[in-house]
């Protein structure tokens, strides 16, 4: 029998789990769409206004729905003890955490990327803006997942970690929000938005290099 690679089995297990809990996957997505629906109602349906605030609205909604869904990233595994088993497994915890975060990103942010054309219509974005938005989302949401996972791992042992999680993470996400929306704004004005994308990409590279260690350390602290 061929030995099983622990990483692939983690990925497979998490994907199956995510697929079987469709409601939990759909809820943050629905939340995302509904928050965006609120904005035209709140600030008026004028196409120009919407186009102006659109990128910011989509990004803020993405961050909020990320915070909502992220709470579940480690919770079930923490409660039933599988996280503790992972620490004993024959694979470095950092890799295991990276795999888990990756699957979580696939489950929560890929659908968000797929549904964003609809939202671009809602908010009257031009094709250039939409293309920039997709790029910032594709580069920025993994960053949300990776950095967010540190705080999730720290608060997983707490009874009511949800609000605390938002308190911890919102200030940390501000630079990403700024760069992403400014990229889309530049696209709206027909300017070059590669610098903003490059900065988001650099932050992502940095996060990929550093955060798995921080996440696994935080998990160990939580199992104190």
């Amino acid at each position: 029998m061929k030995p099983v690679n622990p990483l692939t089995s983690i990925i497979k297990r998490d994907l199956v789990l995510a697929y079987r809990q469709k409601a939990e996957l759909l809820q943050p997505l629905l939340f995302f769409v509904m928050v965006i629906t609120l904005f035209p109602l709140g600030i008026g349906p004028g196409p120009e206004t919407l186009q102006k605030v659109g990128p910011g609205v989509i990004w803020v909604a993405a961050i909020l729905s990320a915070l909502l869904g992220m709470d579940k990233l480690f919770r079930d595994d923490f409660n039933d003890g599988s996280l503790e088993q992972l620490q004993l497994a024959h694979v470095s915890l950092s890799w295991a955490m990276f795999a888990k975060v990756f699957v979580h990103w696939c489950g929560s942010f890929l659908p968000l990327l797929l549904i964003s054309p609809l939202l671009a219509l809602f908010l009257n974005l031009t094709p250039a803006m939409y293309w920039a938005l997709i790029q910032t989302l594709a580069l920025g949401t993994p960053l949300l997942s990776l950095v967010g996972a540190i705080a999730v791992a720290l608060t997983v042992g707490l009874q009511r970690g949800g609000v605390l999680l938002s308190l911890l993470l919102i200030p940390v996400f501000i630079p990403l929000l700024i760069f992403a929306t400014s990229a889309v704004d530049s696209a709206a004005m027909g300017l070059n938005y590669a610098p903003q994308l490059a900065i988001i990409g650099a932050m992502l590279c940095f996060a990929v290099a550093i955060t798995p260690f921080a996440i696994s350390y935080a998990i160990r602290v939580s199992h104190h």
Binding site: I150, L168, I174, P175, I178
Partner: protein, 248 residues
């Protein structure tokens, strides 16, 4: 350096160190703040544009300058705690945090009070103000995370990780906010510090900053002493210390 620092991992030695340093910080605070404030508020010449309302600078600038260094100090304490597993490092980290948070709040509050007569508005989404507000949120996050755990060792480790995440973010936040602001508004209003300031105004300001450092040191040392006593309540040396204080 490690050999020199290592004894202070023990709470008793750290407590003694606090007691040694406290008077120096206290004297610096009293002398610096009294001289700086009285000189600045009463004797320094008033600004030719802003009149007397510029005098809030002697409170605003020391707190604003030092709030970020205090955050870095807190993160360094947390880092030391994570690397060498020192209880006293976590205690110092959490002794620094509330002081820094209040310092940030003071700088925001005095900034708003200054902004009203000068810019005609309490708040403006200027780069420095926004960065300061985010710094305030970061402090609150660290404090909230520390308070959420009942096991204080775990709380110290968690808060230290969060403080480190924050300290890596501070430069990014700083530059992103600056860029965001210049993209949206053009000229910034607050770059008033860059033109050289007259020596008669500068000296009281520098003395106030030194006094503020002393004040921060005093408060942190007092807070740290309290933390140590509370956490080590059942240690023989704490009991002996308490008995000595009671019999006095």
């Amino acid at each position: 350096m490690f050999n020199w620092l290592h004894p202070y991992a023990k709470t008793e030695r750290a407590y003694a160190l606090c007691n040694t340093l406290l008077p120096y910080f206290f004297v610096t605070a009293v002398v610096g703040l009294l001289v700086g404030f009285i000189w600045g508020l009463a004797f320094a010449p008033s600004d030719y544009q802003q009149g007397d309302s510029f005098r809030i600078i002697y409170i605003h600038v020391p707190s604003a300058i030092l709030s970020m260094s205090t955050y870095v100090a807190m993160a360094i304490a947390g880092f030391v705690g994570l690397v060498w597993q020192w209880k006293t490092a976590y205690m110092s980290m959490i002794a620094i945090a509330p002081v820094g948070a209040i310092l940030t709040f003071i700088s925001l509050f005095t900034g708003a009070a200054w902004g009203k007569p000068m810019w005609g508005t309490w708040w403006i989404w200027d780069a420095r103000l926004t960065a300061q507000l985010i710094l305030f949120f970061l402090y609150l996050g660290v404090l909230a995370l520390y308070g959420a755990f009942s096991d204080k060792t775990q709380a110290g480790k968690s808060a230290a990780i969060m403080a480190l995440v924050g300290v890596m973010n501070i430069p990014i936040i700083h530059y992103s906010v600056e860029w965001w602001n210049t993209l949206h508004q053009g000229a910034t209003i607050t770059k008033f510090g860059k033109p050289s300031i007259a020596p008669s105004m500068l000296w009281p300001l520098l003395i106030s900053i030194a006094g503020m450092v002393g004040l921060i040191g005093t408060l942190v040392m007092m807070n740290l002493k309290n933390q140590i006593l509370r956490r080590e309540l059942h240690r023989p040396w704490v009991i002996a210390l308490l008995q000595k204080t009671e019999s006095r």
